[in-house]
């Protein structure tokens, strides 16, 4: 059963979410602070935790910092819990390395769907080929990316996005298409998820992130891999 780390300071919300997650068959570590969550992740193999659900508004170190610290040492999928309309928080959270976000109040069904989608992105890929794009090697079987021989660690969402884009070099993908194929969102998903993930990918893959070679913006339409 997928093992979820839930970091939420409000006891009622935490208990409710823990209840729902357990009913959906997850093993849950529910804690009230970022520090406590990071401690659990510091255990060997990250305590077996497969996904973190992190509230942004936390006492002590906030959700952004928790995301940054998790990202600094692992590629664990992270879902942020935000309040609707806190646009700046969403953008900052995505920049801090979160893969997705859900808006509170959230029903059990929606939370479960998001967790499943994030975990699916960590699952095995459908293609089993390896592509070499001018020094950028994408191993679709081993789910690894190397650039000029050095491994580039990527969290599942970024890796899935790269796999999706590079599977059809030169094809333009709209943000909505990417949201559906990578995040499993319906059309109303927030396209900022895509923009933020592209930004993070460029920072890791491109020599000059401001002048990208691999993931190019097609103004008014979306993104395209190459042409190189």
């Amino acid at each position: 059963m997928p093992h979820v780390l839930l970091i939420e300071d409000d006891m009622s919300v935490r208990d409710g979410m823990e209840l729902v997650l357990r009913r959906h068959g997850h093993e849950v570590d529910a804690v009230a602070t970022g520090e406590a969550g990071l401690e659990l992740l510091a255990r060997p193999q990250g305590g077996g935790i497969e996904i973190a659900v992190v509230d942004l508004m936390l006492p002590g170190i906030d959700g952004f910092e928790v995301c940054r610290r998790i990202r600094a040492r692992s590629q664990l999928p992270i879902i942020m819990l935000t309040s609707r309309g806190d646009d700046l928080d969403v953008v900052s959270g995505l920049e801090a390395g979160a893969d997705d976000y859900v808006v509170k109040p959230v029903t059990g069904r929606v939370l479960e769907a998001r967790i499943r989608a994030a975990l699916r992105r960590s699952g095995p890929a459908t293609r089993t080929a390896s592509d070499d794009f001018a020094g950028l090697v994408i191993d679709r079987a081993g789910l690894t990316v190397t650039k000029r021989g050095s491994t580039v660690p990527l969290p599942p969402t970024e890796l899935r996005l790269l796999l999706e884009l590079s599977a059809s070099p030169g094809r333009v993908f709209s943000r909505e298409q990417l949201l559906e194929s990578v995040w499993d969102h319906d059309f109303l998903g927030d396209s900022r998820l895509v923009d933020a993930a592209v930004g993070r990918l460029r920072a890791k893959l491109e020599d000059l992130p401001a002048k990208p070679r691999y993931i190019q913006t097609v103004r008014g339409f979306g993104y395209r891999f190459g042409p190189l």
Binding site: S12, L19, R84, K104, P105, D186, L188, G220
Partner: protein, 481 residues
Amino acid sequence: MRLPRLDGLRGRLIITVVVVALISAVTATALAYRESRDAVLKRAQNAAVEDFRNRVQQQATELDVPTDPRAMARLATDVASGMRASLVVVQYRDFTASSDPAADRTRITPELRVAVRTQSRVSLQRVEQGGKPWLVLGAPVGMDATGGRGGSGQRSGVEIYAVVSLAEEEHDTAELVRSVQRGLLPVVLLAAVLALLAARTVLRPVRKLARATRRLATGELTIRVEEKGRDELAELAHTFNETASALENSVGELREQEALARRFVADVSHELRTPLAAMTIVSSVLEEDADQLTPDTAHAARTVSAETAKLTRLVDDLIEISRFDARAVALTVHSVDMAEAVRGTLAARGWTDRVEADLPPGIRARLDRRRLDVIVANLVGNALRHGAPPVTVTVRAVGDRLSVSVADHGPGLAPEVARHVFDRFYKADSARSRSEGSGLGMAIALENARLHGGTIELAPPAPGVGAVFTLRLPLRTESAS
């Protein structure tokens, strides 16, 4: 130096000063010309009369009366040779003698002849002939007039006329006018330069004020201008500074209130959402298990779940409208395929089969897709709830404008309802029954349209047509907050 604009203050000032200078110069010239011309002509006239009288007195003593044409001709020649007269005519009864028989005698007018016959002094008249001025003198030869024969005052019957040219005097006065005219251009130029200098002293502070006003308008509220001197301009600068200070204070207060409002919205948002988040997640558990509960408990569980969902929507809408009030909203703009977007809105809410959509392919717009979804969902939801089928959604693009019309075939809106349809919590039914929605949907839709620089219009009632709401937006909206 930049040429002044004629419609500007500087241009107007220069034109005014130059016109005044011109009028002054021309008036002064005209008066001077008139006075000097009069004086010159008077002097010439007096000299001519004196000369004429002397000549006639000298020569008339030789004249016997009755006289004969030869003596008359000699008299005319003698008088003419001694003075500047171009023509001297002597008249006696029907005889006329002239110093220049070929000369034109019409310059001696009948009026002058009458004056000479009726008066015993030298009569004179100025005439113009051939474009030249002439002085015509006339006198009876007798005691009173000329001191000649007949000194007893009796008239001898002999009349003598002299025509003297005034061309030289006219030339002198014309020369005076010409010299004044030559002086006009420097005077006008000097006036223009002086006007420019005067304009600068006025315009420099005015320009500074204009610059300061522009900067004030762009939000630079600390801008002030120098208050120099004690004139009206200094007073204007002082008033500007006072206004800017007052504006700075007011805006400061407003910004403070706005910041407080934003803070309040954020706090309320968090405080309300936290218990709602707990209620929502727990009630979803209750709803999932409702089938295994007793009917009463199941009903209670479903009611709690449904009401929690309504409360969540109400709180969400309240917070959303408060964020608009606090201007704490932002647009996330992308290029959107309109047909795809509207279809998505209908599909996400299960309305695809209930709504007829006229969505031409290829219409793309730059807008916030999530906010477009909110607008379209509110308009269509409203039509489905309050109107009658068929409900149609039509997307059109004309020029750089986009329109999305939602029409139903219900009874339409009464005028008093139409006036308030975008009001918050407005209910057409005075019974104040609870609406299905939050009562804020249309207000939020309108705010979202305005955020894009657009609007939502309600068409005037027409027979056979229900309510028709049209969202109008620019095809390209720039990101803004």
